[in-house]
């Protein structure tokens, strides 16, 4: 398909309207999207991806805006994927992150895209990996992935990012100590944002104490997650955060963790792809007759499932 190749070349040229169109192709799984994805993947290389997780309202989007400015100051091109939940009832979504990531409107070195989860739990859209590869191919030098910050689900961001920031606020107080185990483990850097508000020092201390108790105190990978205070409102602490992110990246490189993480990400991407393709193609074989047989207890779900799986490839 010629159109797809042409789109791929325009993406590689850094054309933002082509980037936008290519991401739609991939997340909507339009005809040609698989060819596009493989074209782009093979011709690009991996980029440092920073994930932002944390409860809604903790300031992830505002912080994203600050990080964009920080990296733009170093001349780096920044791509952002901001994910918000789809309504399980209507299927629609309010994608509000862009509202807080302003001041970069006219800057051709910045691309921001809002995505909806479209029915997927886990804080990431099913096709986030494809969207990341589009940004990699377009020559962005930093990629930020902001996820919906709801409880345990967001550990998934660890499957898409190299450096995960977990963002909390002083107001969370005692809740910090009750942070779920999974979250304590995925965070590479903990950020107490809204440091301009009261209670920052206590929140930082609480978080440090909580981290010191868990397995994170003597991490196998040699990185003890630091706790930093920032104010995305005033800009306080942003440079220190930027430097810490670079430190983590250097650590990934020097410890050999980077390629291990990359392989984890690719494993997640491939397995997500397989799960979708297989369940789609096998489910097609499930007929009304099968269901009736189940109702009548002539067969059982497991046996039927096995039969449908084995019939795969045949049809």
């Amino acid at each position: 398909m010629n159109d797809v190749r042409q789109l791929a070349r325009r993406v590689e040229g850094g054309d933002l309207s082509a980037v936008a169109r290519a991401i739609s192709f991939v997340v909507d799984e339009r005809p040609g999207s698989e060819e596009l994805a493989s074209e782009l993947y093979r011709r690009s290389s991996s980029v440092h991806k920073v994930g932002l997780a944390g409860p809604p309202g903790s300031g992830k989007s505002t912080l994203t805006g600050r990080l964009i400015s920080y990296w733009r100051g170093q001349g780096l091109k920044v791509g952002v994927l901001a994910v918000d939940p789809s309504s399980p009832v209507s299927g629609g979504a309010f994608l509000g992150d862009r509202l807080r990531i302003q001041d970069h409107a006219g800057d051709p070195g910045v691309y921001i895209r809002s995505l909806a989860t479209r029915g997927r739990v886990g804080g990431l859209t099913p096709t986030i990996f494809g969207a990341i590869h589009v940004l990699e191919a377009a020559g962005f030098q930093k990629i930020i992935v902001e996820t919906v910050g709801i409880g345990q689900d967001e550990v998934e961001v660890a499957h898409a990012a190299d450096t995960v920031l977990y963002v909390v606020t002083p107001g969370l107080g005692d809740e910090i100590q009750a942070l779920k185990a999974g979250i304590m483990e995925i965070g590479d850097i903990f950020v107490v944002n809204k440091a301009d508000l009261q209670g920052k020092d206590k929140a930082v201390a609480d978080l440090r104490r909580a981290l010191a108790i868990g397995a994170e105190a003597s991490p196998a990978d040699g990185w003890a997650a630091p706790v930093l205070a920032t104010s995305a409102l005033t800009g306080e602490g942003i440079a220190a955060l930027g430097e810490m992110i670079e430190r983590h990246r250097d650590h990934l490189d020097s410890s050999g963790q980077r390629s291990r993480r990359l392989k984890d990400q690719l494993r997640a991407e491939v397995s997500l792809y397989l799960a979708r393709r297989i369940s789609r193609s096998v489910e097609k074989r499930l007929t009304e007759r099968h269901l009736s047989a189940l109702v009548e207890r002539k067969t059982d779900p497991v046996t039927l499932g096995q039969e449908l799986l084995e019939a795969r490839g045949a049809a």
């Binding site: 933002l16 309207s17 980037v19 936008a20 169109r21 991401i23 739609s24 997340v27 909507d28 799984e29 005809p31 789809s86 309504s87 009832v89 209507s90 299927g91 629609g92 979504a93 309010f94 994608l95 509000g96 862009r98 509202l99 302003q102 409107a105 006219g106 691309y111 921001i112 895209r113 809002s114 909806a116 479209r118 789609r280």
Partner: protein
């Protein structure tokens, strides 16, 4: 090929102008989300250039403009013109706010498909948008087919 439910339409709701009347825009954002659209809201005080850039980066199907300050006759056409310049001429543009009936014809000529005033039922806005986008999509698919057919005929010669 994978046969899938169609993806939701993506809509940018934008508030150009210097005023802060954002209630109407927020009501529309909610109504559209609840009707199954993916809605991106830009916030207040957006310049026409900012709106065009957001529309481009978000690859939206439609841009909805909200304006109560009275500046619609300059801002709406300006936004339509920039979208066209950026090669985004096929994005549907619609709007609402305090807009006198006598302004409708000129706005329409300038590329704003339809505007809705105070008291419009949200239902009618949702219905309009679904219909307008569906018929655009049909027209676009049709164009593609004729183009392909023409190319095919050329190649055959």
């Amino acid at each position: 090929m994978v046969e899938e439910a169609a993806s939701p339409y993506r809509i940018l709701i934008a508030k150009p102008g210097l005023d802060g009347h954002d209630r109407g825009a927020k009501v529309i954002v909610r109504a559209l989300r609840d009707a199954g659209f993916e809605v991106i809201y830009t916030g207040i005080r957006q310049t026409p250039e900012m709106i065009a850039r957001a529309a481009l980066q978000e690859d939206v199907d439609a841009v909805g403009l909200s304006l109560l300050s009275g500046a619609h006759m300059t801002l709406f056409p300006r936004i339509a013109a920039i979208l066209k310049e950026e090669g985004l001429g096929d994005i549907l543009i619609f709007g609402g706010g305090i807009i006198p009936d006598e302004d409708f014809p000129l706005l329409r000529k300038k590329g704003i498909d339809r505007v809705f005033g105070p008291g419009t039922s949200l239902r009618s806005i949702v219905d309009y948008l679904k219909e307008a986008l569906a018929s655009r999509k049909k027209a676009a698919d049709g164009n593609k087919k004729t183009r392909k057919a023409q190319e095919g005929a050329k190649a055959a010669k």
